[in-house]
């Protein structure tokens, strides 16, 4: 499994387009919003946590189809399916690799891009914390969506249509926890809910995703 992880990471880094693209997309989204709503500092400060969350979510979405598609096309997914490690493990490792190459850079970059959005001081910590807790769920849910659509010709658009509704709870709790933290309110409950979604997604979705992959490889 570690070999698979290092292989995926190496592929993502050397093939290019992995995390560079997601980060660039995130930067563009967070700089487009001020163009759209105007540069008033107060307005931006108020919507900053939500926009950063939506931006991170969309950036995550961008690279989802790469989780299985390339391996499916060159046949290595078939090899992985017949390999001694269970399919669930393969899916979990692939989601982890996706998180390390896409989610983690977003988490690190979000406070920096927050400066563009005039994010209030405590926001830097809260955006970092909520994204750190929430983005693994985004990768895992995305891996499930990618597993559903892996064999399809124009799976990309369908993938977004399937995955975005599944992202809603994560987005609500994540943005809510960040906003409440910034405004100085109690935010333990949304944080715990966010963590619960991530843990449940990591624990259960590999089974659903592996089932979908097996169906697609039949």
């Amino acid at each position: 499994m570690i070999a698979l992880l290092t292989r995926d990471l190496r592929l993502a880094v050397r093939a290019g387009g992995g995390f560079g693209l997601g980060l660039a997309f995130f930067l563009i989204v967070s700089s487009l919003v001020p163009f759209g709503v105007g540069p008033e500092a107060e307005v931006l400060a108020r919507i900053a946590p939500g926009i950063l969350w939506v931006g991170a979510l969309l950036a995550c979405l961008l690279s989802l189809d790469r989780i299985f598609q390339l391996d499916f096309e060159d046949g290595s997914l078939d090899l992985l399916a017949t390999a001694p490690i269970p399919m669930e493990g393969t899916v979990a490792v692939k989601a982890l690799a996706h998180w390390i190459t896409t989610g983690l850079p977003l988490v690190v970059a979000a406070p920096v891009f927050g400066a563009l959005m005039n994010l209030p001081q405590p926001g830097y910590v809260w955006i970092f914390v909520t994204l750190l807790i929430g983005t693994p769920a985004l990768s895992m849910i995305g891996a499930f969506g990618a597993a559903l659509t892996v064999g399809l010709k124009r799976g990309g658009l369908l993938l977004s249509l399937l995955v975005l509704p599944l992202y809603i709870p994560t987005l609500i709790f994540g943005a809510e926890a960040a906003t409440r933290g910034i405004e100085g309110f109690e935010n333990t409950t949304p944080l715990l809910m966010l963590a619960a979604i991530t843990l449940a997604a990591v624990a259960l979705l590999p089974f659903a995703a592996a089932a979908a992959l097996r169906i697609n490889l039949r």
Binding site: T149, I168, I215
Partner: protein
């Protein structure tokens, strides 16, 4: 006693629910039931809606706009019930591999989608005079919008996959996972605030339901919408089964030609 055993066996066979999963049996039963269902639908929807629209007093503070509940509440109820039926049918397909079940889930999806749209639209039309706005990000409204998105994704996945069995499998998995997330979203949007929407108007365990004059036609309309849903699902499932059969016949002919 072999005679007794044979009778027992026959009874077992005929008493099983799964008997109805046989396409031939389903076609026979739905063919017989359909005219009755259509009649029931027309009767109940007609009585419920006409009674609701023309023979209920106008509520104080609401005017005649209150009458939209005879469409709004039943369609909202059916929108959720349809998704629940799809979930059950998907589980039956995943566990027992009955084709009729998968086709029934496929047939129910567009009906449920339209019910969701009707609920959203009538809600918007009603909301404008009542709350002064067509749309608000209120928990109930939001969860219906989310339900609508789930319906869209589900139907899009059906349409995108060519192999029917693969499509049935994948959409069933999606229906199961989607139900969990739809439920989560419902809970998550409650987090914002209480919202504009009134609480449940009808419930069995609560004393203060709306007055009987409104309640009786509303219940009739709801049962009517339920019958309407079953009728449409039967018709659509029959169409799907026939489509499968014609497809199988075409394939057989092509095999014979080759």
């Amino acid at each position: 006693m072999p005679e007794m055993r044979r009778i027992k066996q026959r009874q077992d066979r005929y008493n099983s629910v799964w008997e109805w999963a046989n396409p031939i049996k389903f076609m026979w039963f739905s063919g017989v039931a359909l005219p009755w269902l259509v009649g029931l639908t027309v009767l109940l929807m007609g009585v419920g809606l006409v009674w609701g629209f023309f023979f209920t007093p106008e509520a104080v503070n609401f005017g005649s706009s209150v009458k939209i509940i005879y469409v709004h509440v039943p369609s909202a109820f059916m929108a959720i019930s349809a998704w629940f039926m799809m979930l059950v049918a998907s589980l039956i397909w995943l566990i027992r591999r009955h084709h009729v079940s998968a086709l029934a889930a496929k047939a129910a999806a567009p009906v449920g989608t339209v019910m969701t749209i009707i609920a959203l639209l009538t809600g918007a039309i009603w909301g404008e005079p009542m709350w002064g706005t067509y749309w608000a990000w209120d928990p109930r409204l939001t969860s219906f919008l989310i339900l609508f998105l789930f319906y869209l994704g589900y139907m899009a996945l059906w349409g995108a996959i060519e192999n029917p069995d693969t499509a049935a499998d994948l959409t069933s998995v999606l229906a199961v996972v989607g139900s969990v997330f739809a439920f989560l979203s419902r809970y998550a949007v409650n987090f914002w605030n209480q919202g504009l929407h009134q609480g449940a108007t009808l419930s069995l365990d609560k004393e203060e339901n709306i007055a009987d004059t409104y309640w009786i036609p509303l219940v009739i309309a709801m049962v009517g919408f339920g019958a309407f849903f079953v009728t449409l699902v039967f018709v659509r499932t029959r169409t799907e089964i026939r489509k499968r059969r014609t497809h199988a016949l075409e394939m057989r002919e092509r095999m014979a030609d080759a």
